[in-house]
């Protein structure tokens, strides 16, 4: 068990490309931290720097109180699960899991005990004698996790471990990973581009963009209080609606002008906060789930919004309605019973208590 500390870490390549631009991150002992970003934004590089598979160009990485910048991967006491499993094809499942322990000259009984225990946790006891080629994708990924668990390392590193699995298996394995972490409580750094994985697994989510950390926080905090437009748009599915707007006075309060005809009232509690933005071009951020059908009891901050429906997508438990406000496409998440038809007009309630006001130029949330 150990805390991980990344201080001003930089990774540059010879061509002048900076994959990681001075990031700072403190990960507590036993914490499950998920780095989430669209592909190519430096998350895997960061993880590989912690693993020791990439040299660090600048800054420091500490694991369990030790500066590990110049320590090779095998001496960092970490275990890593790769996206494409990376099982040793010529070894049985048992030998794959035991390999690290054998190299460290553990006694035979201890190896057997640990492998059996990990196999029991992952429900792969029956597979111990098989070769990787005789396993399904999900089973292979379990073995890869087993190989990490048996080592009892200070830190688990997961590099997009579920990306190669089909949708159903991914959900199942996600639960497995969470269950494993709950039982072994090892500090975990997990990299993914899937925000659902990040939200469901993490104690804290780290959103990265262009090699920088945009925001760090518990999943609910990132969902409800995104710091930037990037985070607001990345967390949540379907993505948040971003509607160009201007703030206007509406009596004693403020209103968000979306078009000539649409003006939505801003909750009075936010007047002081938003007043400096009066008259400037801004962006209204409102999630589809906060732009919904009129429901009882009516939300206190709900503002009525009539829209012309373009596309209706029934999802079973809910229906997604697509429309255009001004010239901007937007989406609402409504009850399946809502009578939405393409070409018709639908009355929606915008839950302005959940709105985000975003600086158009800087992209920061006010």
């Amino acid at each position: 068990m150990a805390e991980v500390s990344i201080r001003k870490a930089v990774k540059s390549y010879e061509a002048g490309v900076q994959a990681v631009k001075s990031i700072d991150l403190e990960i507590a002992d036993r914490e499950f931290v998920v780095l989430v970003v669209p592909s190519g934004c430096g998350k895997s590089t960061t993880l590989r720097m912690v693993a020791g598979l990439e040299d660090i160009t600048g800054g420091e990485i500490w694991i369990g109180g030790d500066l590990v910048n110049d320590i090779p991967p095998r001496d960092r006491d970490i275990a890593m699960v790769f996206q494409n499993y990376a099982l040793y094809p010529h070894m049985s499942v048992f030998d794959n899991m035991a390999f690290g322990l054998k190299l460290r000259r553990f006694p035979r009984e201890e190896i057997r005990k640990r492998v059996d225990e990990a196999a029991r946790i992952l429900d792969i006891t029956a597979l111990l004698g098989r070769k990787p080629r005789a396993l399904s994708g999900g089973q292979r990924q379990r073995v890869a996790m087993g190989r990490a668990i048996v080592r009892h390392p200070k830190v688990f590193l997961f590099d997009e471990p579920l990306s190669n699995l089909d949708a159903q298996l991914r959900v199942q394995m996600r639960t497995e990973i969470k269950k494993v972490h709950q039982s072994v409580r090892t500090t975990t750094v997990y990299v993914t581009h899937d925000q659902v994985e990040a939200m469901t697994l993490a104690d804290r989510v780290v959103v990265m963009n262009q090699g920088r950390i945009e925001q760090v926080g518990p999943p609910q905090m990132l969902y409800h209080h995104p710091a930037t437009r990037f985070v607001a748009g990345f967390i949540g599915s379907p993505a948040m609606n971003f509607l160009p707007c201007r703030l206007e006075r509406m009596g004693a309060c403020l209103g968000v002008r979306l078009s000539e005809t649409v003006l939505l009232a801003v909750p009075a509690s936010r007047t002081a906060r938003y007043e400096p933005c009066l008259g400037r071009p801004m962006v209204l951020g409102l999630r589809p789930e906060h732009l919904t059908d009129p429901r009882e009891p009516a939300r206190p901050d709900a503002a009525r919004l009539d829209v012309a429906v373009d596309v209706v997508e029934p999802m079973g438990m809910e229906t997604l309605v697509h429309f255009v406000i001004g010239a901007t496409p937007a989406c609402a998440r409504v009850d399946p019973a809502t009578p939405a038809v393409p070409g018709g007009v639908l009355a929606l309630h915008a839950d302005m208590g959940q709105m985000h006001l975003i600086e158009d130029a800087a992209g920061s949330v006010v």
Partner: protein, 285 residues
């Protein structure tokens, strides 16, 4: 539309074409060994006789084989070939595997150029090399010594074997060595416990190549060896069984077939491993 050939008839024509090409190939390459076998089963008188078809054996005999096996010189040639080949294969594979591993995985300054250089070395014909090599061997005092071949043959085998192995090692997913390094393996453990077992088909291909080169090369033994007790099979058969303008065709053919046996056996026994892809299951796919 009706004039277009169906998929089935297209496939049938493709199959017929393949069979015709393969049959032609088999005839072209199998005719010489079959003719050798037929000749080796004839007496000298029958070989010299002009009557009848040369493809028919009228009085089959194993005398040519028995003569050769009973000939102490032939046995010396055989064991010289064997010891040289075993040593050359061991030396060549040790050098090639280590070189290929470092060139494929341990990225260092100039490794790419060096890898290309290894292959270019293979393109230099041995007929160009044997004069400077003769001087080196002479200075080492190894002329007319069968062990000089253990120094010479790796110059032919190592570049190609290294090239084959670089390809095999490069095809092993990078995550496999990263997983092993994190598991605690050193570079040597990575090579011996992961790379060599996983790249076994490549190692076998390279071994077969080194064996064939060492067993079958004529030029170097012909240039460097001239005593019967130092000769290997390729040159020994020529010098022992061709005396002036007298060719003992029956025994030459029997000797050549016997000499070809070890490489054939090696191919037969190792072919299954050679074809088997051992990386299945390592990663997704």
């Amino acid at each position: 539309m009706s004039s277009r050939p169906s998929l089935r008839s297209e496939r049938r024509w493709a199959l017929w074409g393949s069979y015709a090409a393969l049959a032609l190939f088999a005839v072209f390459f199998l005719t010489p060994p079959v003719y050798m076998l037929i000749t080796s089963l004839k007496t000298s008188a029958e070989i010299g006789g002009q009557a009848g078809s040369p493809w028919v054996v009228r009085h089959p005999t194993l005398q040519n084989y028995l003569d050769l096996i009973g000939n102490p010189h032939f046995r010396v040639f055989f064991f010289n070939s064997l010891k040289v080949t075993l040593c050359v294969v061991a030396v060549s594979m040790a050098i090639s595997v280590l070189a290929a591993f470092s060139l494929a995985r341990m990225k260092f300054w100039g490794s790419g150029v060096l890898a290309a250089g290894v292959f270019l070395t293979y393109l230099v014909p041995d007929s160009l090399l044997f004069i400077p090599l003769f001087q080196i061997i002479g200075k080492l005092g190894l002329t007319n010594n069968v062990w000089c071949l253990v120094l010479l043959f790796p110059t032919l085998a190592v570049p190609f074997c290294t090239w084959i192995m670089i390809g095999y090692f490069a095809s092993i997913p990078k995550e496999l060595d990263e997983a092993a390094l994190i598991d605690g393996a050193s570079w040597m453990q990575l090579l011996f416990r992961i790379f060599i077992p996983v790249a076994l088909p490549g190692i076998i291909a390279a071994t077969i190549f080194a064996f064939t080169i060492s067993w079958g090369t004529l030029l170097y033994p012909l240039a460097y060896l001239y005593s019967s007790d130092q000769m290997v099979l390729t040159v020994g058969i020529l010098t022992e069984l061709i005396r002036g303008d007298v060719f003992e065709w029956g025994r030459i053919m029997a000797g050549s077939l016997l000499a070809a046996m070890p490489p054939v056996l090696i191919y037969v026994f190792l072919m299954d491993y050679y074809i088997a892809g051992l990386t299945a299951g390592a990663t997704k796919g």
